[in-house]
Amino acid sequence: MLHVDHLNGGYIGKQVLHDVSFDVKKGELVGLIGLNGAGKSTTIKHILGLLEPISGAVEVDSQTLSSSEKNYRKKISYIPETPILYDTLTLREHLTLIGKAYDIDAADLTSRTERLARDMRMEKQLDWFPSVFSKGMRQKAMILCALVTKSPLLIVDEPFVGLDPLAIRQLLRLFDEYKEDCAILMSTHILETAERHCDRFVFLHQGSVIATGTAAQLRETYSLRPDATLDDIYVEAIEAEERKQ
């Protein structure tokens, strides 16, 4: 579903990503793991098409940004780390906007909205303006806007920030449902949750992919005992990389 191929990129005058390659297949939830400044958000911005790559390619469901910007973007939905909502639109109007942007049938949009709002306990807030939302409600609103699209690739940047434990549990349940027909790339620091819910991991360090695979494969790669946690694996991966350098 997502194919990142030898991606070099970053900001003007500052290359952040070096030869980044990985895939996310349909039915997978892949965790993008890295320290602060490892390049997770930059990778996500490149996939979203918000940054121009220096070289390399990003393909989503066989579409590239250069072939058709609109079709490419329709394949992706996104939950940013910091919620970005329009102050002048209610939550329901945000969802209508999403429906129009992704060409979702009105009846489908209504039923998906009702279901997701119920699941995320946001039914009452559908006709509220974002200015009166709490931090958690804003994050839930972003989640609703992304999940309602049912687009083939869902990109999630630190989704648990500001959410209460019930909402986190509900979100993970929704992710499990979502990935049945789609793919999810999730950047997070919460390794314990990632370990329990992600099918595979991509470890980023200083803008390069240092390891990919399932938890079992990564334990094997770094010769760790079978009960080693994702934390242990990650620390070992970073130390191995630093020793190599």
């Binding site: 918000l50 329009y86 102050d87 109007e93 906007l97 129009k100």
Partner: protein
């Protein structure tokens, strides 16, 4: 280094920087012409003024309004909540500096208002120069007290004094008007803040900065602006049944924004109302030319909003291309501006315009096209 001096230095740098953009922007012409036309119209109005015109009542009313609507600058920054906290007790000089800074602002505002109002008073009342000086001093005092009251978080201290000064001028004792205007300063001194009220001053600074940014954004791009939102359920529900139901995503989002933000529909209504007052004051003198001036002023502020809306928004990752967003915003801006143009054109005819109405409409059309073409 003195914190106030350092912050004041940064403020001066900002003002100089933006003033340069504004002066070089080439967009000032509409503003210049509006001011020049306004001055001509006002002069015409003064020439024909009936000596029985109740100018002293106007001054009394202005004194009631002068303490209101101030947005004091405090030069406080968000990081001060952490880094200035340990020094709050020892930076009295900062508070004094901020107070003086705001008094100067308030004085300038009062003087500008009185530059317009005093000729009215002088033409209808027999005033000595000392009395004119007293009236000017009263205005400055009331304005400064209003601004300081907001800074100190003290309510209801200025209005009674303004009312008392107003009574004095209405009853023909202008020389005594500064006396009640001085009283609030005593109260404000007693109830002044001894330490910087960090959160209150931070809020005041944010509001004031937003106002400064809004004015600057007419001329240059200031992306991070907050906007006030009004629900307007009646207009929105009407539009939802007609235009918005069929609109694409970009037109939908900008439509709602245009209807609900105080920077779009409100702006058109505000400036149209002012245009009607100017038409009335002009007494038919080239009244048709008011139309391009005010449509131009509206376009001057409305068109640059697109860049602000487009900088940080959800639309950047949604399947809505920039070209679609641009077309959608132009669609709404064109309709708002042409609606204003037509409404003001009809009003100019009612206020006595003849051939100048046609010239005004033609010029307004060109002005709208000019500003919309800048939207790229």
């Amino acid at each position: 280094m003195n914190v106030f001096k350092q912050r004041f230095g940064v403020w001066v740098e900002d003002v100089v920087k933006y003033s340069r953009y504004v002066a070089n922007g080439g967009l000032l012409f509409t503003l210049y012409f509006t001011l020049i036309y306004g001055a001509f119209v006002y002069n015409q109005f003064l020439t024909d003024l009936d000596p029985a015109f109740p100018s002293e009542w106007i001054v009394a009313l202005i004194w009631l309004l002068l303490p209101l609507g101030h947005r004091p600058r405090t030069l406080i920054q968000e990081a001060d909540q952490v880094f200035l906290l340990p020094r709050l007790g020892e930076i009295r000089a900062f508070m004094t500096g901020v107070r003086l800074f705001n008094v100067v602002f308030a004085a300038i505002r009062a003087i500008l208002v009185m530059l317009v109002v005093l000729p009215l008073l002088v033409r209808t009342q027999a005033l000595t120069s000392v009395e004119v000086g007293a009236i000017l001093a009263t205005s400055v005092l009331i304005s400064a007290a209003g601004r300081l009251a907001k800074l100190e978080g003290v309510q209801y201290v200025v209005l009674p004094s303004a009312l008392a000064s107003g009574f004095l001028i209405v009853f023909g004792v202008p020389l005594l008007t500064p006396v009640p205007a001085l009283v609030p300063f005593v109260l404000l001194h007693v109830r002044r803040n001894r330490r910087i009220p960090l959160l209150d001053w931070l809020l005041l600074e944010e509001k004031s900065k937003a106002q400064f940014d809004r004015v600057v954004s007419w001329f240059v791009d200031v992306p991070a602006l907050r906007e006030d939102v009004r629900e307007r359920s009646f207009i929105v529900s009407l539009l939802e049944r007609s235009v918005l139901a069929r609109a694409d995503a970009a037109r939908y989002v900008y439509g709602l924004r245009v209807m609900r933000s105080n920077d779009s529909l409100d702006l058109v209504l505000r400036l149209s109302a002012v245009a009607l007052v100017v038409m009335w004051l002009s007494g038919g003198w080239y009244v048709g030319l008011v139309v391009p001036l005010f449509v131009g002023l509206t376009a001057l502020q409305l068109v640059p909003l697109f860049k602000r809306l487009d900088t940080v928004s959800m639309a950047s990752w949604l399947p809505i291309t920039r070209a679609e967003r641009l077309v959608a915003y132009k669609w709404w801006a064109t309709r708002l501006l042409f609606a204003q143009l037509l409404a003001l054109g009809v009003a100019s005819l009612l206020f006595g315009a003849t051939w100048d109405a046609l010239v005004g409409l033609g010029l307004a059309y060109l002005v709208v096209r000019y500003y919309l073409n800048r939207l790229t």
